[in-house]
């Protein structure tokens, strides 16, 4: 076969995709964001989608009907009453679904895993996804980004979605993005509207960037953590003994990324 004559194809077939999680509260546009990613990338990359639904396969059916991806590449995992459990502590069903997709459509470039809509504390286990997007939307209220939480603070990308609705709900997008940036200590925040081609292009570029890091072997999945850590920006004068969790990972108090003490 012609592709086997290419010099780079001496490697064994790669079956491990980039597994990209999409989490966030109910109704913020996780399914629509996945549809958008599929629409932008399906011609260029080999994609698969796993949806997690509490009750049924509603999200999977929405994505199949959106016509953005071969319906066979979209599969549903039913989480029962515990959407948080299925992406965080007992990821068995999701792992099996991802592994099935990777085997049936090898080689896949990216598998998108959509969490069931949960609350601000739901994040993916790094054993299930390599990177994760946390999705908020302007209609959920301009103050949500400031409220923080592990997904908002430490997901690989925070998306502020539906920016086109901002004038109708009285939200200042720039302020919401700036709140998110303050909570994230330099990690990226993306204001997104499916009506805005420039924002779609930025999302696409981010996916390619993570994919390149993953295939290059220098991407290490990060755990956003199960809960929000202390945030020091406004209380740096307190007499705390600095013995809490976000220090113990590196055992080093002088890490600027974890602090705003400086």
């Amino acid at each position: 076969m012609p592709e086997n004559t290419a010099p780079v194809d001496t490697q064994p077939v790669r079956t491990r995709s980039l597994r990209l999680g999409v989490a966030g509260p109910v109704g913020t546009g996780k399914s629509s964001l996945i549809a958008l990613v599929c629409r932008e990338l399906a011609d260029e990359l080999s994609l698969g989608v796993i949806t997690n639904d509490i009750y049924t396969d509603e999200d999977a059916r929405f994505l199949r009907s959106a016509g953005v991806l071969d319906p066979e590449r979209i599969r549903a995992v039913e989480t029962g009453a515990c959407p948080h459990t299925a992406i965080r502590d007992d990821i068995t069903a999701n792992l099996m679904a991802v592994e099935d997709l990777e085997e049936d459509f090898a080689p896949l470039d990216v598998v998108l895993v959509e969490s069931g809509g949960d609350n601000l504390t739901a994040t993916f286990s790094p054993a299930l996804v390599d990177a994760q997007i946390f999705v908020l939307d302007v209609a959920g209220g301009g103050d949500v980004a400031r409220k923080g939480g592990p997904g908002i603070a430490r997901a690989d990308l925070l998306v502020v979605n539906k920016t086109d609705l901002a004038p109708y709900v009285g939200v200042d997008v720039a302020q919401m993005v700036s709140d998110g940036e303050a909570a994230r200590e330099g990690r990226p925040v993306l204001a997104l509207s499916r009506e805005d081609p420039a924002s779609r292009a930025r999302l696409k570029a981010w996916v390619y960037e993570v994919l390149a890091a993953h295939t290059g072997g220098h991407h290490v999945p990060q755990d956003p953590g199960p809960m929000a850590p202390h945030f020091h920006a406004e209380d740096e004068d307190h007499g705390h003994d600095h013995a809490h969790d976000d220090h113990t990972h590196d055992g080093e108090h002088a890490q600027p990324r974890d602090h705003t003490h400086a």
Partner: protein, 252 residues
Amino acid sequence: MHQVTGTHPDVLLMLLADARLPTGGHTQSAGLEPALRAGMAPRDVPAYMAARLATTVRVEAGTAVVARHVALGPARAADGAPTLADVRAAWAARTPSPALRETSERLGRGYLRLLRRLWPDHPALAVLEEDLPTRGRRGALTVAGTARPAAGVPRPLVLGVLAACAGLDAVRLARLVAYDDAQTVAAASLKLEPVDPAETTTWVLAAGPDIDDVVAEVSHLTDPDHIPAHGAPLMEQWAEHHARTTERLFSA
């Protein structure tokens, strides 16, 4: 490789009986949600638990016990000795509801994933791979275009192989299967028709004699033909209906 050795069987028994075991058990109500949706009165939950212990649980426990025996392989060389494929066929013949078989195989896959990690080199796992080739192996299970597994290894059969690996005897294994079913009903009832959790716990303890009856009926079994064949047609009908229901809290 993490071959488990030197862990007391009772610790492994507790591990397997623990709802926190990562095998997807939180999606299961042991048929209670289908039953309540079909109109069963919440006050009948303890009777429902007892009915399962008198019927389907005996099929499950018997399957597990015989699978354990076959996986340990004492009669493997003998002509006509039963294989795990025979055990699977016996279980399937006694589980007429496709929805219940599919649920059991989906759960079995979760346990199998754990089993392969814990005892990758155990001879009992080799028996399973030999008798049911490709069954339950990832990828080989999925019918293209659907999320439905084609066929797999039912949960009680994998539990039997797990027991063989873990050094659990047949009595403990049968009691595990029976207890787990009762406790699954009790825990699910707290989500579906909440009562004081101390109340549901008394139901499980009150089912103790019924659990012992299951153990007495199945723990000596070695032949797939002798696995009890008690049916529960109403539960099967509810399960079939539930598989096509939306907005359910539990998948089965």
